[in-house]
Each structure stands twice: as C-alpha cells, then as structure tokens.
Symmetry: C2
Subunit: 277 residues, 2 copies
C-alpha cells in the first residue's frame, strides 16, 4: 500500500519543521534522522521509529529504496511528501528523500540497573553539541551503561549531536539530572566511585586505581570545567599530565583518556597483578 | 606615538579582509588572531606578530588596553582603524577592537632536529578544522615535537583551527608533506617507529610497546581513515578496543589515546619494568 501523501501542515510534520528551523522540537524525547547513512544507523538501533517521510521523486538508488522499505515496515506511521515539502524539512542542500522521527533512549535514573562492572560518563554543563556527540560516541565505544547529563546546555536531539555521535545517540541510554547534588546522591546510592577530571588535581589519572566495580567519570564544561557542587562529596580528583602551553584538553579527549583507563585497569585486574592486561 | 589610522584599502589590511571572507589569505604562513583571549595566547607564544590593528573606540577595559600596548610594542607594524573598518574585518558580532596577523610556526621537514624521546603526530587527510585544532591541542599537551600534515584538506590558519587548538597552533611546529610516501621516507631517515591507528588492526594499542625512542603516531581522515600509502612501509598497526555499536572513534580521541599511551610507556620504562610509572 502506498502511504498517503501529506502537506506541510499535517500535524505529524510539525516536529520535522521545528527541527529544520533549529528550534527545539516540542518533544525532546525524539530526534529527526535524515539521509541514508543516518537511517541505516537508526535501523540498526532498537529505538522506536515514530514517523517516516519519503519523497519518492528523490529516492533513486537501490540502497535508498531498501532503506525506505525497511523504515516503512518499522515506523508507526509513514507518509509520502513532495519535493517542495521536503526542501522545507531537510537540513541538506541535496536531500536524498528520506526522513524519520525516532525516539531517543532517554531513561529516568531510577529505571537503570547496573552490573558489577558498571561504567557511567557524566557530562556536566557541556556547551557544544559536537562535544556532547563525541562524548556519547566514546561512551558507546567503552560500552558505558549510560551518559548522564547534568546542568544540560545542549539538547541531545540537536542534529550536530547526532552527527558527532555517529548515530550512537540512538543507542546509549541518556539520563538527565538537574545538578551535581542529585547526581552524587543517585551515584552514591548505586555504589559508584565518582572520578572527576580536574586539570589542577595532584593525582595522575593513571596512578589512581580505577578498577573498582562501578565507576562514574565526570567531565565538566568547555569553559569552566566541573561545577563546584561535585566537591560536596568525597570524589576522586584526577588530572591528566599537561606538558605543553595549554592548561587543559578538549573535554572529549579528557573523557576518553579516563574511560579507557578504567577499561585498562579492569582488564589488568582480571589478568592478575603485575601484568597490564 | 599614536599609530596611523588606515582605511579598508590599505595593503596591510588585505590578509585580514581575506580571512574575514573565509577565503584563504594569499599567504598561508600567517593567521588572523582576534580578541583579548586569543591575543593573550599570541603574546605568550614566540611567533612573530606582523600587523596589529586597534580600534580605540572599542577598547574599553584595562585588560584590553594592556593587551593593545603589548601588541603595539611587539608588532612589526601597528595601525588604528575605525569601527566601520573593524566591522568588515571582524568575525564577531561584538568585536573588542583588537586584531593581529601572526606567523604560524610552519617548518620544512629538514629544519627539525629530534631528541631521544621524540614524539610526532601525523594527521593524514583530516577534513574538519575543529578536529585539526583539537589534534594540535593534544599534541601540545603531550609536548610533541611537531604535527605533520599529510594530504592536507584544511588550512591551519582557519579560524576554527585556532579556536579548537586553544591557540596552541601558534606554538606547535607544523610540517606539511604531500603524501604518505614522503612522510614515511622522512620519518624513516629520522629513525621513527611509525604507529598507525586502524580500527581493524588485531594488535591492541596498549599491547604494543610504544616506549621506543622516536615514535610517530598516524591518524587518518574522519571518513576514510589513513590512506593505503602508509602500508608500503613496515608500520606498526594498532587498534583501540571498540565495545559498542560504532566502528570507530573520533580522530582526536584516537590520537589522544595513542599519544598518551606513548607517554605512559615511556614513564613506565623509566621507572623500571613491572611498575607502570
């Protein structure tokens, strides 16, 4: 059955239009996914596809047709749109005719359960969408249980978060908490050791033993670092050696060094003392 | 002596105008530096300041006045400009009245001399200015001897390179080579072990001993990784464990993990076998 062709004023197109105008969609639990590459990431993720829009005039390759067929199958609702409508919804100079609205894997803190080797990345006050996306991509690579957004400045359904995360924002659970106090309380209840990356800390990140069973790595905003609220609890402050003229690293770089140090410590511990892995 | 006030057609203003239009300045050995934060980085670096432009009507704080005084002293040539001229040259919505043209620390490969613990980052075909800047920032933090640009796609005097590098592009020597073959030949002559980050490599980056005296870390473009030319030589291929759904890390993240692994291996070696540092 061919899906119904709809115009720009159809209510299901509203979130697409809001995203195209770079205003927050009314519902921040969803993200607009555009283009074959991104939609193939969406098909591989388990997240629900709410609406699928296809402009058949622009679907030209067998790969695009296969992608469209799979999304029509998977989406709650599917519509056709004309090229003019598409041009209003697309963020691209040369759209390839496929757009979807998908659910982000957002979770309430209380919903999550953690195992013995839990790993959490806490992003405190991150300001740039590209950095947030890269943090999520690294958290995915480290198989982190979730990314916790504290004092959120960037909405996770921003198109640049999607691109920088390479689509992993569709798979990594996101938890939002308003401030360090609530994050500390929750992480404490769940038995996490909280490690804070802080350029001024005297302890080298490789010296602290990060092989504990549940570890949360906290990185702070690009301009101001982590907020002072984190120091109300007995967190483990660690620094990364800086041998040059700059006084800090990019936040995604800091996070990656710490997260991979946790993985390294854990595999070293598994393999026995002395050997590194 | 008050500097001469000049108009938009003064020849010394040409490179500023080219940068403001986001076209390559004719001379890629220079970069436009704008704003107090950036100009303080410039004052701290050793690189020459060719031209300094000041719009006194917009210089309002004691910090800005001190910065302007120091730059007038340091620059080869200093001029005053009016607010209208400034608005044509500035990349900012609210310019703070200070602009400079500075030399980038570009070097010919043959000019550089390396010590026993040399460390070089090779950026092969990097496409995004933000990533190139972050790579340079990380190279600075690791006290790398230089960053080598192979198959360059982004000009190092792009404003976003400056911002992402946090101004370290003014201090880290940059070497440009056209292709992997010339880079391999040069690194080989200088006695470097060449380590290539490659998602498919079977050797874990932490398993390979990266404590050799001279190490070059090669990272490839965002879309396609390192070019095949690198495999014409006996390079050491290493991968970073990927435990999630994505098949690669952000290039700045990969580079940082490898560069810091080199530092870790070296300090472990210094401290004796068995102990990690």
């Amino acid at each position: 059955m061919t899906p119904q062709r709809v115009g720009l004023h159809h209510p299901r197109l509203r979130p697409f239009l809001a995203a195209a105008r770079n205003t927050a969609p009314p519902d921040e639990d969803h993200v607009v996914v555009e283009g074959i590459w991104a939609l193939e990431k969406l098909l591989a993720a388990r997240t629900p596809v709410e609406t699928f829009l296809c402009c058949p005039e622009l679907v030209r390759t067998p790969q695009a047709r296969r992608c469209a067929d799979a999304l029509r199958e998977r989406a709650e609702a599917a519509y056709e749109i004309g090229p003019k409508v598409l041009s209003r919804l697309s963020g691209r100079a040369r759209p390839d005719g496929l757009l979807a609205l998908a659910g982000l894997p957002r979770r309430a803190a209380g919903e999550l359960e953690f195992g013995d080797r839990a790993l959490v990345l806490v992003a405190d006050g991150i300001e740039y969408a590209g950095n947030l996306g890269t943090l999520i991509r690294t958290a995915d690579a480290c198989s982190a249980d979730c990314v916790v957004l504290v004092r959120r400045q960037v909405r996770p359904n921003h198109p640049r978060v999607f691109v920088a995360s390479r689509g992993t924002v569709l798979g990594v659970p996101l938890v939002e908490l308003p401030d360090p106090a609530s994050a500390i309380a929750w992480l404490g209840r769940c038995g996490f050791t909280v490690v804070v990356a802080e350029p001024g800390a005297s302890r080298d990140y490789r010296a602290g033993d990060l092989s504990g069973p549940r570890t949360a790595v906290v990185v702070g905003s690009e301009g101001r670092g982590v907020s002072s609220g984190w120091y109300a609890a007995p967190v483990r402050r660690v620094s990364i050696p800086m041998l040059g003229s700059a006084d800090s690293l990019n936040v995604s770089v800091s996070a990656a060094l710490l997260l991979y140090e946790v993985l390294t410590c854990r595999s070293r511990r598994t393999d026995g003392a002395g050997a590194r892995r």
